[in-house]
Symmetry: C2
Subunit: 158 residues, 2 copies
């Protein structure tokens, strides 16, 4: 568990903190499956393609991080399922943003997976400023407070 702990002088940042929880290989794919409703070990193994041992480990760290909850769904053949907690469900925007980026810049051909939003249209997400509602991404934001070092001269994140 090489957590974000060591790293002497790295920037203190919630992106790094988030990645310390869900940044390991398979974690986000596990979350994709769980949010899709595939909450049992066997279907997570089948759909992610990860090996059983590391998926066991990932599921455990995600449960420890309270992103998933391990629930007994059958007493007698003791069987468990992994349900998303509130924190887990809150990762949906991250996954959708990643999917959109992958559709646009990585996947060849048409998007393999398409969602329909409640409004009836194909679902594509846009990130907007929570305050004013304008789309974010044109580089018109600046740093207010920065935890860490090396203040950049031009900040274009967002």
């Amino acid at each position: 568990m090489t957590r974000a702990s060591s790293a002497s002088s790295a920037r203190e940042c919630s992106i790094a903190n988030a990645l310390a929880v869900v940044g390991e290989r398979w974690s986000l794919l596990v979350l994709r499956e769980v949010l899709l409703g595939n909450v049992r070990f066997e279907s997570i193994v089948a759909n992610t393609g990860g090996s059983r041992d590391i998926l066991t480990a990932r599921l455990r760290t995600l449960v420890d991080a309270e992103v998933l909850e391990r629930r007994l769904y059958d007493e007698h053949p003791r069987r468990y399922e992994y349900l998303p907690t509130e924190a887990g469900r809150a990762l949906q925007p991250v996954l959708l943003a990643l999917m959109d980026w992958g559709d646009r810049y990585v996947t060849q051909g048409p998007p393999p997976t398409v969602w329909e939003h409640a409004c009836g249209e194909e679902l594509h997400v846009t990130a907007v400023c929570a305050a004013c509602g304008e789309p974010v991404g044109s580089g018109e934001s600046r740093l207010l407070r920065l935890g860490g070092i090396d203040q950049p001269r031009t900040a274009s994140l967002g």
Copy 2:
């Protein structure tokens, strides 16, 4: 390079494809720095806290994936910098979504890094449906087409 290549029966999905490009450790932290304007090797090393050898490798894969562009900025002491391409800049919403999630569910205390949007308010992103503008995340979407196996009974991603 254990790409998304092998994995016999995994779901075909742009989330997995995206993660094959930016899902390795340090990749997204490199992108954070580059988008912050810290585009030189030394400041990437300093601010991410990663070791020089793996950052060298990550930068190379990101350049190969056309997420970054390696540009000579000084001829005589031959020096390079890493600039985001369009695909790289398009990762901003992913990073902001991760940061928001980290602020909310991982980071203890106040957010270490705060951005100000052009509108004057602190920047927090919301993911909205590109078509209708409604926020996404309450689980009111369904699958239209699914690449892969194991159709879930209830789909709540988005």
